[in-house]
Each structure stands twice: as C-alpha cells, then as structure tokens.
C-alpha cells in the first residue's frame, strides 16, 4: 500500500513538473515580460536593471527551477494588470469558486445518484422516462444557455433568486470568506450551483443507471435473488454498492472539471471567483495569473486523482489485495 502511494506521488510530481514547464514556457512565448512592465520611453539602463532583478538574463534552466521553487511556495509573481501578488489575488477569489464547485458537486451527486438508481430499477416507468428525457437536455444544452434560462425563470420572471453576485459573505479564519452562512449567500448560490452541476448531474445519473443495469445482470445478483434475499437487500445492499465503485472515480474526476468549467458559470452569474479572474487575465495577457491558474488547477486535479485512487482501494477489497501483494 505504501509503495502504491509513493509511486502515485512520484507520478503526481512528474505531472506537476510538466505543467509547470508549460506555464513557464508561456512567459517566454508571449513576448518579453519586461515589455509589460516598462513603457516605450523607459531608459535602456532601467530596462536592463529590471531584467536583472527579475533574473531574466540567467540560463533558462535556472529560471525554470526558480519558477518551480517559487510555485512550490505558492509564489507566482506579480500580476501585470493589478500590480499585486498573484497569490493574494487568487486567494481572495478561491473561496467563491471552491464553494460553488463543492455545492455543485454535492448537488450533482445527491440528485444524480438517486435518479440513476431510480431509472435503472423502474426502467419502463413513466417517471424514469421523463428523467431520461430531461437528462438528455442536460447533456446537450450548453452551460451558459442553461444559466441564462434559469436566470430568466427564477430571477427575472419569478424574482425568487438573485441573478448575480455572491450575496453577503462572512469572513471565517483569515482569508476565507464564505457565502454558506448567510441567507442571501445561500440564495445566491442556488442558480450558479445548479447551472454548473446540471451537466455533471445528468452524467452521473446516466453513469449510475448504466452501471446499475450492468450489475443487476451479474451472476452474484442472480445468486443473491436465488438465496431469497429481499428485493431491498438485493438492490440497495448488494447492487448499489457494486454500482458506486466505478462512480467514485468518475465523480472525483468530475469535481476537477467542475472547478475548471466554473469559468463559464462565473461569467454568466458575475460570480467573483477565480474563473472570472482568469478570463480577465486572458483578455489582458496577464501571464502570471494565467500561469498560476493553470498550475493550481492541475495541482487540484492531481490531488483529486490521488484521493480517488485511495478511496477506490478502500472500497474494493480486490484492489486492496493486489496492492498489498505489489
């Protein structure tokens, strides 16, 4: 088991190093970063000094190692647009994005799994067919369109929920400001979370349905029936557990893509998160922010992946056994 964890950690470090290399390369390919900091009439001597202070005359490999070392300490340089440390900018906005992503993921799991189980067990039921049809809409409509439709219905027409912003937030422990503790914060979260989670929810529903149908056809389910176990024990004791094992993997990976896809939802709802910051950075060629965002999102993916693998090993005794043997 330890060997497995170590091996996966090594792989993760390699992945992150490659991402850091790409991020680092962005600085070089999108022009001389000094040009972003100086104007046309800055004296040549001053330009040279800036170059030197930034270490831009050092060999590339040294610059890269420095970038990695800084990144490891959450140090991503100064934003061109805001003239502020990138880390501070991201840290300010991270809670908004992470809370949104977390609530979306929770929504997609808590609604997607029961719907998937239901549609698998009542394959020919009317409601199951309705769920199936709705899920098709969920996967085929683009996120921004869903967001706009929801805003039109619940914010403009019915006036139940706000159409933009985070509502009131409360500061907890230093830099983390949460919208989960105020009524307006919670209300503001509903529409963006549903918008962002809808695609994942339908995906999880379809995955659970397909997986459950597959499991229900297996010999051990047939044998469980032949042993006279109650329908409930067969469906929710045996079949569901086997269904959820592969779902863990997908759901974990989806959490990563929820965070990445938050960009669109944040834009539609003017959500003050990292996604909006990233978009602004792209518009203004603010490389430090773009690079830092890239590295952070990949780090997140890697961590989630690692957690999923460990969780998987915990749930499935067969995998645990092969790991012990390895």
């Amino acid at each position: 088991m330890l060997a497995f964890i170590l091996r996966r950690l090594m792989q993760s470090v390699l992945v992150l190093l490659s991402v850091a290399l790409i991020a680092f390369a962005m600085f070089r390919f999108v022009g001389d970063p000094v040009n972003q900091l100086v104007s046309l009439d800055t004296p040549a001597e001053q330009v040279r000094q800036i170059r030197e202070s930034l270490g831009l005359d050092d060999p590339v490999i040294v610059q890269f190692l420095r970038y990695v070392a800084n990144a490891a300490q959450m140090e991503f340089g100064i934003s061109y647009q805001f003239r502020q440390p990138v880390t501070t900018l991201l840290a300010e906005r991270a809670p908004a994005t992470l809370e949104l992503a977390f609530v979306s993921a929770l929504f997609s799991l808590l609604v997607g799994i029961p719907m998937g189980v239901y549609t698998a067990l009542r394959r020919d039921g009317v409601l199951a067919r309705v769920f199936q049809a709705v899920s098709l809409v969920g996967v085929s409509l683009p996120t921004f369109l869903i967001g706009i439709l929801l805003i039109y219905l619940f914010a403009v027409t019915l006036g139940w929920l706000p159409s933009f912003g985070r509502g009131e937030t409360v500061k907890i422990s230093g830099s983390w400001s949460t919208g989960l503790l105020t009524w307006s914060g919670l209300k503001a979260l509903v529409l963006p979370a549903v918008t962002l989670g809808l695609f994942q929810m339908t995906l999880i529903m379809r995955l659970v349905r397909a997986e459950m149908l597959e499991v229900l056809r297996t010999d051990y389910i047939k044998f469980a029936r032949a042993r006279g176990l109650s329908t409930r024990a067969v469906h929710f004791g045996h079949a569901l557990k086997n269904t959820l094992v592969p779902v863990i993997t997908i759901a974990g990976l989806q959490l990563g893509s929820i965070i990445a896809f938050a960009i669109i939802t944040e834009t539609v709802f003017q959500w003050p998160g990292m996604g909006v910051l990233f978009l602004k950075a792209v518009q203004n060629v603010d490389i430090p922010i773009m690079a830092a965002y890239l590295v952070m999102i990949s780090a997140l993916f890697v961590v989630i992946n690692l957690a999923v693998d460990l969780l998987y090993a915990m749930v499935d005794p067969r995998l645990r056994a092969t790991l012990k043997g390895a």
């Binding site: 029936r225 032949a226 006279g228 176990l229 094992v245 067969r318």
Partner: protein, 331 residues
C-alpha cells in the same frame, strides 16, 4: 405417502419478442421425489437452465411461464405473488450456479453473505447466524472456518468458492437444490470433490437435487433418474441405469454413445450429425426429425408425446404401439 418434492406439469416457457413468441420450453412434465437426484442433460440451448430458472421463479422478462404448473410438496408455486415466492427461494429451494467465481458478491465478506442469508430465512440472532455459518463452512470442508469466515471471496480458490456457494444454497435446509452445471467452470481435479460433497450434503439432509450437467459421467455416478432434453422438450426420462445403458430415444442413443464406459467418462457429448434448431425454427412434428436416422412420415407432422417404455418414458413415435402395429402390418 411419498409425495414428490417437485412436480412439474406441462410447463411451458415463452419469450415474447418483437418478431413473435418463441417457445423455449414446450410442455415438459417431471417429478422429483424427496431425496432423489434427477439429472438433466441435453445439448447447449436445450432449455435445461431455463427449466431450473422457471422452477425457482427467477425468469426475467421477456421470458414468462405461459402454461402448466409447478408444485412444491403438493402446493402450487408458479402463481404465487412475488413476495411469497421470494420467501421460498433459499428456504425451500436452493440454487447453485455454474461459475463460483462470479456467484459471490466481491465487495462483501463471505461471512456477511452467509449471515445475511441465514438471517433472511431463520429466526436467529446475528451471533447464532454467525455460529451457524462457521459450522456450515466447516461442513463443506473449508479449513479454519472461524478465520476464513471473515475473508473476501477473491481470497478463495474456485473450488473453495463453490463450497461456499453450496453452503449458501443449503444454509436454510431446503427440500430441493437446483444445481446448474455446478462443476463446469472448475478445474477437473476438483470437480469430483464438489460433486461428492453435493451428493453427501444432500443425502444427509434428505434434500432432493435437480442436477443439470453436460457430464454424463457425473450423471451416471450421481443421479437416480435422468431426463434428456432436446429443443425445449423432454425426450426421454427414466432410471439412470436404463437411460444410460439402454437408451431408447434416437437422440439419447447418440448422447450415450459418447460414453465409452461409466468409469472414464469425462468427455463432452458426442455431436450427433447436424445441430439443434434455433428456437425460431423448431420443426413441426418431432423436433429431432431432421437429424434422426429413423424418421418416418408421422415424425414430420405429429409431435410425439411421452410414452411408457420399459422402466422410463420416451417421446418417440418408434415406441408407439400404433406405429409398431402399423409398421408390422405394412411389412
């Protein structure tokens, strides 16, 4: 009174498909007496598994019982509501499937699957159920059962897993066990052990067995009577010695021709010329007539019924008194 444990009359199973109704089991009838072992043989697709599945009430749509009746110790069970039928499964009728590697849920400990089944059928506490599970594991020959009970299925070999499956099928002392090719998926070296175990456990408990297999050697050693199936029908049924040594039906003759002797007989069935028809294309009259070396006019039009012949019964017009008489007058 020696009432049969299982009594099947004119059981018919059909699949309703878009292209019409397929009759997979065609009005079969047989009895199994208490403690008796009935062997069921026949080519792949003959309907052996389907018969077992219908008896235990686990047919899945589009399959359905389209006619006939099934009685367990005299009580009709084919029309029971699902809840009542479920309570019979595992308690009165046990079932063992072909592949022990896939019969156990890989995510549940062996002991949990046993305890769960025992507690479903018997009014015992969890501790009692666990004790009973350990005893059962010991009885089916699992070494160190008090330790192995907490093992996962993947930690058991194929033979050991089939022993666990037997323990599961027998844990509520059913009157009848349906064993559907219980050794086909196992190593040859352990097949005989598992069959011997099944035989011993059932004899000790007086459990009747419906033993589905391709292995004529197993039938010869284990069964009291044997039913030969072909294209969803029973073509011959009788005491095992008679049917194996002196088969009557032309198809059964072909089958038994493949056994050189009762001892060294682990071969697959000899292929009779041609193959069994698909369900959609079962010929009129005797389903075997395209392959039968003795077929005559009547075989093409009239479906043979099971007729008494010697110690057993045979579905072949060759053994119909009328035909014999007619054939003699013609000669």
């Amino acid at each position: 009174m020696n009432e049969p444990v299982l009594s099947v009359r004119d059981l018919t199973v059909e699949f309703v498909t878009r292209r019409g109704t397929l009759r997979a089991i065609d009005a079969i009838s047989f009895d199994i007496a208490p403690g008796e072992v009935l062997g069921v043989v026949g080519e792949s697709g003959a309907g052996k598994s389907l018969t077992g599945t219908a008896v235990i009430g686990l047919l899945e749509p589009p399959g359905r019982i389209a006619g006939g009746e099934i009685r367990l110790s005299g009580r009709r069970i084919d029309d029971l509501p699902p809840g009542e039928m479920r309570r019979l499964r595992g308690k009165r009728i046990g079932m063992v499937f072909q592949d022990p590697l896939t019969s156990l849920n890989p995510l549940f400990r062996v002991g949990d699957q046993l305890v769960e089944t025992i507690m479903t059928h018997l009014p015992v506490t969890k501790e009692e159920a666990r004790k009973r599970a350990i005893d059962l594991l010991a009885e089916v020959g699992i070494p160190a059962p008090e330790r192995r009970i907490d093992g996962w299925p993947h930690e058991f070999s194929g033979g050991m897993r089939q022993r666990v499956v037997l323990a599961l099928a027998l844990c509520a002392e059913p009157d009848l066990v349906i064993a559907d090719e219980p050794t086909t998926a196992l190593d040859v070296s352990v097949q005989a052990q598992i069959i011997a175990l099944l035989k011993r456990l059932c004899r000790e408990r007086g459990t009747a067995v419906m033993l589905i297999t391709h292995d004529m050697g197993v039938i010869a050693e284990t069964a009291d009577r044997v039913a030969v199936m072909y294209a969803g029908r029973i073509v011959e049924i009788g005491p095992v010695r008679e049917v194996v040594k002196n088969p009557q039906h032309p198809y059964a003759k072909g089958l038994m021709g493949s056994i050189p002797s009762l001892e060294e007989s682990r071969e697959r069935l000899l292929q009779i010329e041609g193959s069994m028809p698909r369900l959609a294309a079962i010929p009129k009259g005797c389903a075997f007539h395209p392959r039968c070396p003795h077929a005559f006019a009547r075989c093409h039009v009239e479906k043979p019924v099971l007729l008494e012949s010697g110690a057993g019964r045979v579905a072949c017009w060759l053994y119909d008194g009328d035909t014999v008489a007619r054939a003699e007058t013609a000669a």
